[in-house]
């Protein structure tokens, strides 16, 4: 296998919120992202997917574990040492309105990363690069001197994508980039992201709760629950033969836009346990129809089910 673009090893992120109360947001997460891969990180609110992403771009400091970018541990670097690495690890945020400076024009927004990373020597060179990136993300040049409020939601997200890509990153972390957009715009953004990846060859970590989007964009999927990866594998495997009961329930809950589609829905009872008091053993055991006593005692490890498909379930591993 090629040298991985990113390795996450034994990642923990805990927040002390109050005296004696700790939120265990991410608990022992391991995964590897290869070159030119698009990997979906899915799960529901509070599963730790966004926290994982924020640790990778160092918007959060990890509690424990290592994150290697091209073999170098970024968690051991000082922020000063990490700064040049930001050029190669970029992020696109969920809400393009909140993540763009309302007082900067598109041109000013796009100049900033070029200036910070000293990627252009003159204004002229900057403007050429800006024109190039705008045409790549299908943003008409006439918008270059507009402010975010003069753009539509879809256009703003194109600016967010352009800002991330203008530094030629190896890894782009996309945190729900389409969930604030209308459906007819969403499909344009997904198509754009896919074409950009083909042209520029970067790796995507695509965080989303929208599994139909993940299915159409990603090669591999990681499913998180209660701060842990419960299942991962190639996109077709996960969607067509999910092994973990949680993944099965999650997939069965998505409405399919086809009145003729037949399906069996698994309705989960209750809600996920609190992140401040993690249960011992499997975090899903209380909501799982197949859980045995040993599930509640011992934390499951990722079991290799073949074809690059891994699942953290004792029942699957022993059957």
């Amino acid at each position: 296998m090629d040298q991985p673009v990113l390795e996450v090893q034994g990642l923990y992120k805990h927040y002390k919120v109050d005296r004696g109360i700790t939120v265990h947001a991410v608990n022992n997460v391991d995964f590897v992202l290869g070159p030119r891969e698009a990997v979906g990180l899915v799960g529901e609110s509070g599963c730790g997917k966004s926290t994982t992403a924020r640790c990778i771009v160092r918007l959060e400091e990890v509690t424990q574990g290592r994150i290697l970018s091209h073999g170098r541990d970024i968690t051991a670097m000082s922020l000063h040492e990490f700064r040049p690495m930001r050029r190669s690890i970029q992020m696109v945020f969920q809400d393009p309105t909140m993540s763009l400076n309302p007082r900067l024009t598109v041109r000013q927004t796009l100049r900033e990363p070029l200036r910070v990373h000293k990627m252009a020597s003159s204004r002229k060179e900057m403007d050429e690069r800006i024109e190039e990136i705008m045409s790549l993300v299908n943003l008409e040049l006439r918008f270059v001197d507009r402010h975010p409020r003069q753009l539509s939601g879809g256009q703003r997200q194109r600016v967010g994508i352009a800002r991330a890509l203008i530094t030629n990153p190896d890894l782009v972390v996309l945190d729900e980039p389409t969930s604030s957009l209308d459906m007819s715009i969403r499909i344009h953004i997904i198509d754009l992201l896919r074409r950009l990846q083909e042209q520029m060859g970067m790796t995507y970590l695509f965080i989303s709760h929208d599994l139909s989007t993940v299915r159409s964009l990603c090669h591999r999927v990681l499913v998180m629950y209660l701060g842990r990866v419960v299942e991962m594998g190639p996109v077709g495997e996960i969607f067509d033969q999910p092994l973990h009961t949680y993944t099965q329930a999650l997939l069965s809950a998505i409405p399919i836009p086809d009145p003729k589609a037949k399906r069996e829905r698994i309705i989960l009872s209750g809600e996920p346990p609190s992140l401040t008091k993690l249960p011992s053993g499997c975090g899903f055991a209380d909501r799982c129809a197949f859980a045995s006593e040993s599930c509640r005692e011992e934390e499951p490890v990722l079991y290799n089910a073949g074809n690059g498909h891994f699942v953290a379930c004792r029942e699957v591993a022993t059957s």
Partner: protein, 301 residues
């Protein structure tokens, strides 16, 4: 004019989906039906018939009785629909006291029963909880409980699961469907999710920029959408049960809806736009029984 000449009907026990993207006028339409339009918005023209009576001729106090007792609405953000300063139980038993004229004790008992019915865990304890102690899914259950308490004939649900996780969405819809069966209630379900429409609705109404572009049974509209906008929506759908090639329509990225009065509002984005579309507002044509389209491609005979 945000909403222009909208006509729709919901029959007893039926579920109708009102679909459209942001700015299409779905919520404005719903609020107008409930008589909840607030300045500067007002209903300028048209009639709203409910159980054979014209709601626009009712006084505010008559509407107050109708809302809640025979027509209820649940909103998009469940948490902001609850009073943050009142215990959940007090908010539910108030419905029984105001709408059904029950005494305090009886209402209390009914409220508890309601919480149990919508599967709130530890209902006795949660009677005395404030809304901020509950998750979004639990708040929506409480609102469903308040709605059921009124036993309405019509429920208007405005994106009741937006912002909730899919597994929670599945729980809420299961609950609403059960309530609907038990109380033989009709529902107008407002959503932007065609998956939800396909699963829950019998008929659908597609809105764009304040116009009803297409109305028909869910089966017929999904199978053979007639309006170019509906066709575009159906083509933009992604599904999780199989891989589809994403091929966005070459024309018609909607960047901004225009609310013109003298032309088809979809014409600037329409791949099939003709000269007449920019000059004249189309009228609504019946293309087959129960299937109507507002588009110049289907001239009135």
């Amino acid at each position: 004019m945000v909403v222009d000449n909208v006509s729709l009907d919901v029959r007893p026990e039926e579920t109708v989906g009102l679909v459209g993207e942001s700015g299409s006028g779905k919520t404005v339409t719903a609020l107008a039906i409930m008589g909840l339009s607030r300045r500067p918005a007002h209903v300028a023209q048209g009639r709203i018939w409910f159980q054979g009576e014209d709601l626009r001729s009712k006084t505010e106090s008559q509407l107050y009785r109708i809302r809640g007792s025979s027509m209820s609405m649940i909103f998009q953000s469940p948490r902001s629909s609850l009073n943050p300063l009142m215990h959940v139980g007090d908010q539910i038993d108030r419905v029984f006291r105001v709408q059904k004229g029950m005494g305090r004790k009886e209402a209390r008992g009914k409220a508890l029963e309601m919480l149990r019915q919508v599967s709130i865990p530890e209902p006795e304890r949660h009677m005395r909880s404030y809304p901020h102690r509950l998750s979004g899914g639990m708040c929506q259950r409480v609102l469903v409980a308040m709605m059921v308490a009124c036993e309405p004939r019509l429920l208007i649900a405005d994106e009741p699961t937006t912002g909730l996780d899919v597994t929670v969405q599945a729980q809420i819809f299961e609950l609403i469907k059960q309530v609907q069966r038990d109380h033989r209630m009709a529902m107008l379900l407002i959503t932007h999710d065609l998956g939800v429409v396909a699963e829950l609705c019998e008929r659908m109404v597609v809105m764009y920029a304040g116009h009803v572009m297409e109305t028909g049974t869910v089966d017929r509209v999904f199978e053979g959408p007639r309006h170019p906008y509906t066709q575009m929506l159906i083509k933009s759908m992604l599904r999780s049960d199989r891989k589809i090639d994403v091929a966005p329509p070459s024309k018609g990225a909607i960047e901004e809806m225009v609310y013109t009065l003298t032309a088809c509002r979809f014409a600037p984005c329409c791949p099939d736009a003709m000269d007449i579309c920019r000059q004249k507002k189309p009228s609504t044509t019946m293309v087959e029984k129960g299937h109507q389209v507002m588009c110049h491609l289907y001239p009135t005979k």
